[in-house]
Symmetry: C2
Subunit: 157 residues, 2 copies
C-alpha cells in the first residue's frame, strides 16, 4: 500500500498540473489534519490579480477558514514546490507542524520564478537590497507597540 | 511644510494605533502611488482568523484590487514596522518600488511577535529548522514545471 504521505503529495502535484490548465501558475498545496485533507489550492496570482495568492498562502487561508482559527498547529502542508520566503513566513505564522515539498527553489528559478532571488535579498543587509528600504519616524511608530504592551485585552499570537 | 513621506508614515502609524483599539495587532501600512494613498490596512490576523492577514499583505491585496493588477511597480509602501519575511516576500512579488518602515523586527520581538525568529529560521539550513521540512517525489512534481515551460499561453510574472 502506498504510504499516505505520497498520496497527499500526489494530490498536490496533480492540482499543480491542473492549475496550469486553469490559467494559474504551476504550483499547488494541500493541508492535512488527522490524516484528512482540509484544504487545497493552486497559485492564483495572475487569475485573481493578487500577488500574495501563492498556493501555500491560498491553502493556509482556506484551512484557517475551515477550522475557524489562525493557529494551524496539528496540520501538515504538502506543497508541490519548496515554499518561497512569503509562503515560508506564512507557514511559520500559521504554526504548521511539518512541510513536505517536491520541487526546489532552484527548479522554480529555472522556469523563471523569483523565489531564489527573494531568498538572496532577505540574506542581504537592508542597505544593500534591490528594493530601497528606509527606516523613519521610529519614535512615533513605537507608541503603538507601547500601547499594545499596556493593553489588557490583546489577543497574542 | 511637512515632507510628504512623513505624512504617509504618520497615516500608517495612526492606523496602527487605531487597529489595536479595533481588536487587531499593532501594525498598519499604507501604499502610495503618484503621491496618493491607494490602499491602507491594519493587521487583522486574530479578527479574521487569517494567519496571513498582516498589515502589508492586507494592503498589497487591497492595492492590487484597486489597480486591477498583480504588479504594483510605481508604488511605495509605508509600514509602521519592518516587514516580516512573509510581508517582505509579498512586497518583492508585488514589485513595490520602495519600503519605508518605523519600528524594527527587534521592537516587534520585544512585544512578543515572531518576526525575528522567522528571519533566523530562514537563515538556517532546511535540515536544522524548527518546522521539519522534507523533500519528496521531486521526480513527479517536476512534471508541472516541464508542462509550464512547454506551455505557450502562460502568463509569466
Amino acid at each position: 500500500m502506498k504510504q499516505e504521505k505520497h498520496k497527499f503529495m500526489e494530490e498536490a502535484i496533480k492540482l499543480s498540473i491542473e492549475n496550469i490548465k486553469n490559467g494559474g501558475g504551476p504550483f499547488a498545496a494541500v493541508i492535512v489534519k488527522d490524516g484528512k485533507v482540509i484544504a487545497k489550492a493552486g497559485n492564483s496570482v495572475t487569475k485573481t490579480n493578487d500577488p500574495t495568492a501563492h498556493a501555500e498562502v491560498n491553502t493556509i487561508r482556506l484551512a484557517a477558514k475551515a477550522l475557524n482559527t489562525f493557529d494551524l498547529s496539528g496540520c501538515e502542508i504538502y506543497t508541490s514546490c519548496e515554499p518561497c520566503p512569503m509562503c515560508l513566513g506564512a507557514i511559520y505564522w500559521a504554526r504548521l507542524d511539518k512541510i513536505y515539498y517536491g520541487n526546489t527553489k532552484t527548479d522554480a528559478k529555472n522556469i523563471g520564478f523569483d523565489d531564489s532571488f527573494i531568498y538572496d535579498e532577505i540574506a542581504t543587509p537592508i542597505a544593500d537590497r534591490k528594493i530601497k528600504t528606509i527606516q523613519m519616524d521610529r519614535d512615533k511608530a513605537i507608541k503603538a507597540f507601547e500601547l499594545w504592551q499596556a493593553s489588557d485585552d490583546k489577543i497574542e499570537y
